[in-house]
Subunit: 209 residues, 2 copies
């Protein structure tokens, strides 16, 4: 915080420019969709010249891949943070499902992920770039989930947490259509019931065992 | 079947042309996405002149709305038919989940629905047309589910069946990325376990009660 712009190193300034370009790509994807996302638009949103942008990212594919990685890494960190904030004694599985919806999947920046997921279906080049990002992320998610959760019935906690996001992604698709907050609440509650039959926070599992 | 083309009524020919245009729109959406779907392309795929097409559908919005209704009505009929085909004694809930995936959500024509759902997010005019179609459909689905299923725990069977499609829609988004059939199988199995704890076919519920 005390570091003035003048005293920033080249590396710090470069990281900051990349972060700004990732944020701008996320905004652009959410607002204009994948087809409407261009390097020119992203540079404009980031407030950088096209040349400055091309110093960091040479193509739309580079930009979108970096933005996806940045966004998904952030979502994973947020997921872990959310889980840690929920206190024993509360209905923590319900709290986790609600937070995952409210703070992650239903937040506007998450629309960018939806756009990328859909674009990948008909764009093999993009898929080739996004696939390794996703594979790495799902390994990190599995590792994080292993430190947070156990299951009552021997099912895989990483699978159950992954399915939570799968369901919420499907819900976010439908929520765009129905705009029915009561239906969303019912789905979140029903899933929390079903998940809570199986999933427990690791400290509760230790207390019970 | 015995009706020759010559003996078809005007109404029959018109219905057939509309059906062909809906099928062509579905193909076009699945292959070229919403942005790449144009009335010209649809007329070409349907093998109709642009004039003939415009006699039935005046705009892309009309075409896409009609195609969505046609596709979703077909999916509902298919869902009911699939449920009726599963015989007591089998693990019918698992069979239902697998069929819903294999025969509906994962089938290529379902990509058209995904395209429409995503397009709706940033297109208020399209949403205004698709919303009533969806509302009518979810009432029909609820009515159909009421004749097919009960729950063991007082939860709403229509909600659970709806959530099945919500989860599978999310899964179809991810399946485009991961191309990991083993993961898909694990999700289907885990959901069948969770759903089977609560949902029963109505004839089994009657036998048990």
């Amino acid at each position: 915080m005390a570091t003035s712009t003048a005293r920033r190193t080249q590396g710090e300034r470069s990281a900051e420019a990349r972060r700004r370009l990732c944020e701008a790509t996320i905004d652009c994807l959410a607002a204009h969709g994948y087809a409407g996302t261009t390097t020119l638009r992203v540079a404009e949103i980031a407030g950088l010249s096209r040349g400055a942008m091309q110093h960091h990212f040479g193509s739309k594919l580079d930009l979108v891949t970096a933005a996806a990685e940045y966004l998904l890494d952030g979502a994973l960190a947020r997921t872990v943070e959310m889980a840690h904030r929920l206190r024993p004694g509360e209905d923590r599985v319900r709290g986790f499902v609600r937070d995952a919806w409210r703070k992650l999947v239903a937040s506007p920046r998450y629309d960018a992920i939806l756009e990328i997921f859909v674009a990948v279906r008909s764009d093999a080049e993009l898929r080739g770039r996004i696939e390794p990002v996703l594979r790495r992320l799902s390994l990190s998610l599995a590792a994080a989930v292993g430190t947070l959760f156990r299951t009552r019935d021997g099912s895989d906690p990483a699978l159950l947490v992954g399915m939570t996001f799968t369901l919420l992604r499907g819900l976010s698709l439908e929520a765009g259509l129905y705009r029915d907050p009561a239906l969303v609440e019912r789905v979140l509650d029903q899933w929390a019931d079903m998940l809570g039959d199986r999933l427990v926070f690791v400290d509760e599992a230790a207390a019970a065992g």
